[in-house]
Assembly symmetry: C2
Homo-oligomer: 243 residues x 2
């Protein structure tokens, strides 16, 4: 039903253990939204081959695009490439083009371990950009991005226009009533406008409203009609404002 769906996989013990605060999903959420991509799932998982393989396999099958963050360096805890290969029943292969890039970049400082970064799943595509010497690795619908936030953002920005889709249209209705008192009115609008996604969010610390109702769709006209239907149906004095 939904098109242009996406999932994010954050690979990193350091996030789960609270050593570093998660920044990459936080960056992608508004970026995907602006692109018109429906983000449907975020999973933060440990540095574990089995976890990576199982997660990638499951999410790749159910979404149009999967973005991974982390686990792509030369040390023992960098397992993303092998995990993605395992997800698809393939193997790692040293990529000649990546090896050449690494040799040129490191020169005399190159270590054997640096070359691990040239090992990518068999059949991977490289996405080159003008903004970076190092390409993004793509395996089927999985885009493998680095975990260091500054690099993650630069890499994602270099490929972001590939994902541009029809934009979302959204509106908010602020209500001075408890959720229990507007639930039945919401049900009617939900039933009448199946193409509009409607959310109800109570707030307990605001002076003038108690619930934010959000209406959204890629069909701007449907959002407008659903909003009108809701505002018209609610008893007088409940709608505080519409944004």
């Amino acid at each position: 039903m939904l098109s242009d769906t996406a999932a994010i996989v954050i690979i990193g013990d350091e996030i789960l253990s609270g050593k570093f605060v998660e920044e990459n999903a936080a960056y992608l959420i508004p970026a995907l939204r602006e692109l018109g991509v429906s983000l449907r799932r975020i999973e933060v998982i440990p540095d574990s081959l089995e976890d990576i393989a199982e997660t990638i396999r499951r999410l790749s099958a159910r979404h149009d695009h999967v973005f991974t963050s982390g686990g792509v360096g030369p040390t023992h805890d960098d397992m993303t490439m092998e995990g993605v290969a395992r997800a698809f029943g393939s193997k790692l292969r040293r990529h000649a083009e990546l090896e050449q890039l690494l040799r040129a970049f490191y020169g005399g400082r190159l270590t054997e371990r640096n070359l691990r970064m040239a090992d990518v799943p068999d059949g991977a595509a490289l996405i080159l950009s003008d903004h970076s010497f190092w390409p993004v690795t793509q395996v089927r619908n999985v885009y493998i991005l680095p975990g260091v936030p500054a690099l993650f953002r630069r890499k994602f920005d270099s490929i972001r226009e590939r994902f541009r889709a029809r934009p979302f249209c959204a509106t908010r209705v602020y209500c001075a009533a408890e959720e229990g008192n507007i639930a039945a009115y919401l049900d009617e609008v939900v039933a009448a406008f199946p193409q509009v996604s409607i959310g109800s969010y109570p707030r307990f610390d605001t002076p003038d409203f108690r619930v934010i109702v959000t209406l959204e769709s890629k069909d701007a006209e449907a959002v407008e009609r659903a909003r009108k239907a809701l505002v018209t149906s609610l008893p007088d004095g409940i709608v505080v404002r519409v944004e």
Copy 2:
């Protein structure tokens, strides 16, 4: 192998669509850490019965504790209770004690829809506390918490001491070298101290170091020995400081 493991399930279209910033996993990460609980997975999923049921079933089987956030109000988009029931092949049942609490709380303002909040999975346990009139619902190893951040924090704090476990011990070694140059030294320490979890995190915007190595375990003495082994093995001039 790991004991006292946990997973977090954030249920909410509003997080995935960027309407609201995620606050509840962000609150639980350091809280679980402080308790000595090993957080192994966070999933942010949509308001969908199938997604909730599949996720809860999978994560409940693989972790000691599962915490959910969101989807527990009286409106159409509140599906957590039914999703958890479906995860375990059970049904919702109106809980007499919860119904009584709702009738007392709302009095004359009670609507039929408010009573939906008394419908919990068959066999659910209620955890009462002195700090709130409303209990936390527990189904097997799943703790169902509200999505509104202020309520989420209050509810979790009311049950947090149930989860206290042996504390973590962690240390950091800051290195003035690229990851490729320390990878082989790390491998040796990783192999010698299987009970210590070792992470390597490159940084590109710091003047005096290039990699943060973290060592952690519940065995404080093992962390200390692993740290000594690493610092001793690294060539002179690489270790900038230890925290």
